[in-house]
């Protein structure tokens, strides 16, 4: 299949950037990233600069490969990352526009790659539990209800790819932060520091310059892990009780 790609090219963070048009011959069996690999092989053989894009595991769990494909982070399919999008969902002659995430808190680096370390700093602010590590404890030492564990796991499925920020008209990171706060707050191990965590992570989120949640829910639509906005309501509750309540 022959495809026309309109790809955002930007030499450096300071470069203004522009769209370049490329023709590529792809097979329907290829993944979207493999199709970009083919394009880059061709560019290299023509002694042109290959397109920079981020990728790592290519099996939908690392959260590295976020691209905005025809206006949708991770492309048109529900609940899949860019690496799980296959060319069989496109037809011969399609025009595909590929852009990087656009958000002030995710500054552009090169071509389709942006700097998402703001998410790392939010995690560093409180997205963990403070326990002495050692030998793993017995699996059933802390009984947790199945439903509770399932909710926590749904939130923990967040791979921190940043598609929520890319999809949000306000570039808000609330879905990401709420997923991280929720998956720990729902478990007994995380409850201990829940108040401090909610406040510290929201403070860092605000400091990074993310926007505010208008409950547009575009984040949930585009999330490759289908994280629900009910987590955002939980974060709002956690933050409210942490701000207005007191430990003692």
């Amino acid at each position: 299949m022959k495809l026309t790609l309109k790809i955002w090219r930007q030499k450096s963070p300071k470069d203004k950037g522009r769209f370049e048009t490329y023709q590529v011959e792809a097979s329907p069996h290829m993944s979207f990233l493999e199709m970009l690999d083919v394009l880059n092989e061709e560019l290299i053989s023509k002694k042109e600069e290959p397109v920079t894009f981020e990728h790592d595991c290519r099996e939908g769990i690392c959260g590295t490969c976020g691209l905005v494909i025809n206006g949708q982070p991770h492309g048109p399919n529900k609940g899949t990352a860019t690496c799980q999008l296959h060319m069989r969902f496109y037809k011969d002659g399609d025009i595909i526009v590929i852009e990087p995430y656009r958000a002030s808190a995710f500054p552009a680096l090169k071509d389709l790659a942006v700097d998402r370390s703001a998410f790392d700093r939010i995690i560093q602010a409180g997205g963990y539990i403070s326990v002495s590590t050692g030998a793993p404890q017995d699996g059933n030492a802390i009984p947790i209800e199945k439903d509770q564990a399932a909710h926590a796991f749904d939130a923990a499925a967040c791979i921190g790819c940043g598609a929520c920020v890319a999809a949000c008209p306000n570039a808000s990171a609330m879905l990401f932060v709420s997923a991280k706060v929720s998956h720990l707050a729902l478990l007994p191990q995380g409850k201990v520091e829940a108040r401090r965590r909610a406040q510290a992570m929201v403070k860092q989120m605000d400091a990074e310059g993310f926007g505010m949640c208008s409950n547009i829910t575009a984040c949930e639509v585009e999330c490759p892990k289908e994280i629900s906005v009910t987590n955002i309501a939980r974060l709002n509750r956690e933050y409210l009780s942490a701000s207005l309540g007191s430990e003692v």
Binding site: E99, P169, V202, V221, A233, L235
Partner: protein
């Protein structure tokens, strides 16, 4: 009090201010509509004028009205500040291809709350100048009911609604308010952290009905007065 100011200036705190002031304004709309529906009585405005006098003289209502002015301003100013902050967060470079989808809310309304709010604010300025300010400061004709002299607000309302331009302006503004409510009603609850398997579908259902019925009720008044009075 630093914990309180920290809360109010945080992103979530600011959204909660929007939510709480919004809920107050939502409640106000019902009271306002119930009062205004008295314009539909074919009594030359007696019921409406007596109601208008009560609303501008009763101390409890007057106190509440100051709260209302404050909440309108807080909701508008805070909304504008959030809109500006969110634009900065999105950055100068937009997407070449733009799609914003939503689940469980109207995506047009959700993505354009700032613009809808701006139109509502302009509407409010005109609306308040036209009726509220005239009632407070203007020289209104007087009507006499049972020997009691009352400002004839009904007279300027019915004159205004003889003008088809005003009728269209009011109806269009009500459509804008309907869209603002369509997202705002349920969004206010989500912001307060109220998202529940049992109650959220109910809140969303009531929100939709509310967003249609209340503006419709307001819109009927100028249309009816234009056509039948």
């Amino acid at each position: 009090m630093s914990w309180f100011s920290n809360f109010l200036t945080s992103s979530i705190g600011r959204k909660m201010v929007m939510s709480l002031t919004g809920i107050f304004l939502i409640l106000f709309l019902v009271v306002h509509l119930v009062g205004n529906l008295q314009l539909l009585y074919d009594d030359g405005g007696e019921k409406f004028n007596l109601y208008a006098k009560f609303m501008t003289t009763n101390p409890l209502i007057k106190t509440t009205s100051y709260l209302l002015y404050a909440f309108i301003l807080i909701h508008a100013v805070q909304g504008w500040l959030l809109w500006r902050k969110n634009r900065q967060a999105r950055g100068p470079q937009g997407y070449a291809v733009k799609t914003t989808k939503s689940v469980g809310t109207n995506s047009f309304a959700a993505s354009n709350m700032g613009w809808l709010g701006t139109i509502i604010f302009i509407f409010l300025a005109i609306h308040l100048y036209q009726f509220w300010l005239q009632m407070k400061l203007g020289h209104l004709p007087m009507a006499i009911y049972d020997g009691q002299e009352v400002k004839d607000l009904y007279a300027i309302v019915s004159v205004a609604y003889e003008n088809v331009g005003f009728v269209i302006f009011y109806v269009v503004s009500m459509i804008v308010i309907a869209f603002h409510l369509l997202h705002g009603f349920q969004s206010a609850f989500q912001t307060l952290g109220i998202n529940h398997r049992k109650y959220t579908p109910f809140i969303k259902g009531v929100g939709k009905i509310y967003a249609i019925l209340i503006p419709l009720g307001f819109a009927i008044i100028p249309v009816y007065m234009y056509l039948f009075h």
